[in-house]
C-alpha cells in the first residue's frame, strides 16, 4: 500500500501542519512516511503545499505527480492541483472559502465548510484540523487516536487549551461527514 496526498492552501492556513501531523501519526502507527514541503521561492501570504507519502514499504520518491488524494483550503490551490489527482481519489475542498466547482468528474469530491465550522467552535485557526477530521474519516489512512496522539506530541509545548480546541475541531470535522454521509 502506498498513498500520497497533497495538502495546499494559503501560507498561514496550517497546510504544512496538516501534512506534518498526518506523517507523524502514520509514523507512530508504524508506517513508512515521507513529508516534502514546497520550498524556496515561496512568499509570505502566498501559497503553501506539501506532499505526504504513507506506505507499508520503503518509499522511493516523496514526490507525487499523481497524488491519490488532494486537500485544498483555497481557490488558487484547487486550480493548481486538481488536474493531478488520480482518478477515483478524494478531493477535499474547504467550501467556506472555495465557492467554485472542481472541473473533475472522475474523483470523489468532499466539500467541508471547515473555516465556518472552526469559527463556530471559537477558533478560526483550527480550520485545518477540522479538515483533518474529515480527511481521516473518509480515507481511514490513520486511526483517529494515532492522529490525535501525534497532534498532542507535536503541539507538546503549547498550552493545553490549544490542544483541547484542536481535539474538538478534529471531532467536528469527523462528525460533519458522519452527518452528511
Amino acid at each position: 500500500m502506498m498513498v500520497k496526498t497533497i495538502f495546499a492552501g494559503f501560507g498561514g492556513q496550517g497546510v504544512l501542519m496538516m501534512g506534518f501531523t498526518l506523517a507523524h501519526g502514520a509514523m507512530s502507527a508504524g508506517y513508512h512516511v515521507t513529508f516534502l514541503p514546497a520550498y524556496g521561492a515561496e512568499v509570505r501570504g502566498g501559497t503553501a503545499n506539501c506532499t505526504v507519502a504513507v506506505a507499508d514499504e520503503e518509499i522511493a520518491s516523496p514526490i507525487a505527480s499523481k497524488p491519490d488524494h488532494l486537500v485544498v483550503l483555497n481557490t488558487p490551490s484547487l486550480y493548481t492541483f486538481q488536474n493531478r489527482v488520480a482518478a477515483g481519489g478524494y478531493l477535499f475542498i474547504n467550501s467556506s472559502i472555495i465557492t467554485v466547482d472542481s472541473s473533475r468528474h472522475d474523483v470523489q469530491i468532499v466539500k467541508v465548510p471547515s473555516s465556518e465550522i472552526a469559527e463556530k467552535l471559537g477558533n478560526p485557526r483550527t480550520a485545518n484540523t477540522v479538515m483533518m477530521g474529515a480527511f481521516l474519516k473518509k480515507t481511514g489512512l490513520v486511526a483517529p487516536d494515532d492522529y490525535l496522539g501525534s497532534l498532542e506530541e507535536v503541539m507538546g509545548s503549547k498550552k493545553k487549551a490549544i490542544i483541547e480546541i484542536n481535539r474538538r475541531a478534529f471531532a467536528a470535522g469527523f462528525e460533519f461527514l458522519e452527518e452528511s454521509t
Binding site: F20, H24, M27, F35, A60, P62
Partner: protein
C-alpha cells in the same frame, strides 16, 4: 533512542552535534538554510559551541580551517554555487591534512542555477573540486536515516584520515522529512592529535600548505596519495538491492537511487529482473565491487540527475566488460519511478541487452 520525524537538513545538524561538532560557520543559501538555522540554536546549548554566520562562503570555509587547526570538530554547509566558492579552503584543508565536514545540498546548475534537486556537482565533489592533487571523501546518503548515520561517520572519517569529508545530497534530501533514529555515537580515541592549542601547550606544530621546495612538495603530494590509497582500500561502501537474481543492474546514488528502487519494483512486476548497485561512498567509488558484479552481469543502466557524470566512473569500473545504458535528468527535474521504468523498457531487451550509451 526514539524514532523522530525530522527534516533532512535538521537531521544533519543534530547528527553533527551528537558526533561532537562544536564549530559551525556558514552563509545562507537555499535549499540548506535549515542547517545553519538548527546549528545556531543547538551550538548555543552545548558547552564550547561556536556558531558564526560569516560574511561569505569563502570566509566560512576558512573559519573552518582555523577551527580545525585548533582541534575542533568543525563543519560548514552550502549549496552548489556556495560550494564552488569554498573550493579554495577545501584544497587548503586537504593540503594541511585538516579534518572537516562540508555539506553540499546540490541544486540545479551550472551557474546560480535554481533551487531544485539535482546531482550535477558529482564531478566537482569526487575529483577534488579545487586545485591540486587531492581527493575528498564523498558520502552520498539516500534516506534521512543515512543523513544521520553518515554525518556521524563523516566526522570520524575526517579525524581518522585528517582530511575533509563531504556529504553530497540535494534539495530533496534536505527538505524532506522522514523518520530517523539517532544512534549513540561511538567516540573514537585517536593516539595522535595535531591540534594547535596555543603557546605553552607543548611542542610547537606547523600546519601549512605552502611548500616552496619542489622535492618537498612532491613528497607531500605522494604522502597524500598514499593516504588516499588506504582510504580507497578501507572505506569504500555500497549497497546492493535485489541484485542476487538480477539480469539488469541499475547504478544510482542518493535521490537517484530512491527513484531507481521504485523503478525496479515496477520492472519486476513486468517480469524484468532488475536490481540496484548504489555507491554510498562516491569517492572512493566502489570500483572493485562493481567490477566483481560484471563477472555475472552484462547489462548495467546508470541513472543520475545530471547529464552523464556517474556513468564515467561506471565505465572506468567495468572497462568494457559489460554493456552500459544511461538515463539522466539534469537541471532540477526529479523524474518519477514510472518514467525511469518506461525508459528502461524502451532501452532494454532481455535477449539483446541494454542499448549502449554512446
Amino acid at each position: 533512542m526514539n524514532k523522530v520525524l525530522m527534516q533532512g537538513n535538521k537531521v544533519i545538524g543534530e547528527a553533527a552535534i551528537l558526533a561532537g561538532c562544536r564549530f559551525y560557520a556558514g552563509y545562507p543559501i537555499t535549499p540548506q538554510n535549515e542547517i545553519p538555522e538548527y546549528m545556531s540554536e543547538r551550538l548555543r546549548q552545548v558547552e564550547g559551541g561556536v556558531f558564526i554566520q560569516s560574511e561569505s562562503e569563502i570566509a566560512a570555509i576558512h573559519m573552518v580551517v582555523g577551527a580545525s587547526a585548533a582541534g575542533a570538530r568543525a563543519m560548514t554547509s552550502s549549496s552548489s554555487p556556495g560550494i564552488s566558492l569554498k573550493q579554495e579552503g577545501i584544497s587548503s584543508l586537504a593540503a594541511c591534512q585538516l579534518p572537516a565536514v562540508i555539506v553540499n545540498m546540490m541544486r540545479g546548475g551550472p551557474g546560480l542555477g535554481n533551487i531544485s534537486p539535482a546531482q550535477g556537482d558529482y564531478f566537482q565533489a569526487t575529483r577534488g573540486g579545487g586545485h591540486g592533487d587531492y581527493r575528498v571523501i564523498v558520502l552520498g546518503p539516500a534516506t534521512a536515516q543515512e543523513l544521520a548515520d553518515l554525518t556521524m561517520d563523516a566526522f570520524d572519517l575526517a579525524d581518522a584520515y585528517r582530511t575533509p569529508v563531504m556529504i553530497l545530497a540535494d534539495g530533496m534530501m534536505g527538505q524532506m522529512m522522514e523518520p530517523v533514529v539517532f544512534k549513540e555515537p561511538k567516540p573514537r580515541v585517536y593516539p595522535e592529535r595535531h591540534m594547535m592549542r596555543g603557546a605553552g601547550t607543548g611542542k610547537h606544530k606547523i600546519i601549512r600548505g605552502l611548500i616552496l621546495d619542489p622535492l618537498e612538495m612532491e613528497e607531500h603530494n605522494w604522502t597524500l596519495e598514499r593516504k588516499y590509497r588506504v582510504i580507497a582500500q578501507q572505506e569504500t561502501r555500497h549497497e546492493l538491492y535485489r541484485a542476487e537474481d538480477a539480469e539488469l543492474i541499475l547504478v544510482a546514488y542518493g535521490t537517484g537511487a530512491r527513484i531507481a528502487k521504485g523503478a525496479i519494483k515496477r520492472l519486476r512486476e513486468m517480469g524484468i529482473k532488475a536490481g540496484l548497485f548504489r555507491p554510498i561512498t562516491l569517492w572512493p567509488f566502489p570500483t572493485a565491487e562493481l567490477r566483481e558484479l560484471a563477472k555475472r552481469n552484462k547489462d548495467f543502466m546508470v541513472f543520475e540527475l545530471s547529464t552523464g557524470q556517474v556513468v564515467e566512473d561506471v565505465r572506468l569500473a567495468l572497462q568494457g566488460y559489460a554493456r552500459i545504458g544511461f538515463h539522466g535528468r539534469p537541471g532540477g527535474v526529479v523524474p518519477t519511478p514510472a518514467e525511469l521504468a518506461n525508459v528502461i523498457i524502451r532501452q532494454y531487451d532481455p535477449k539483446q541487452g541494454i542499448a549502449e550509451h554512446q
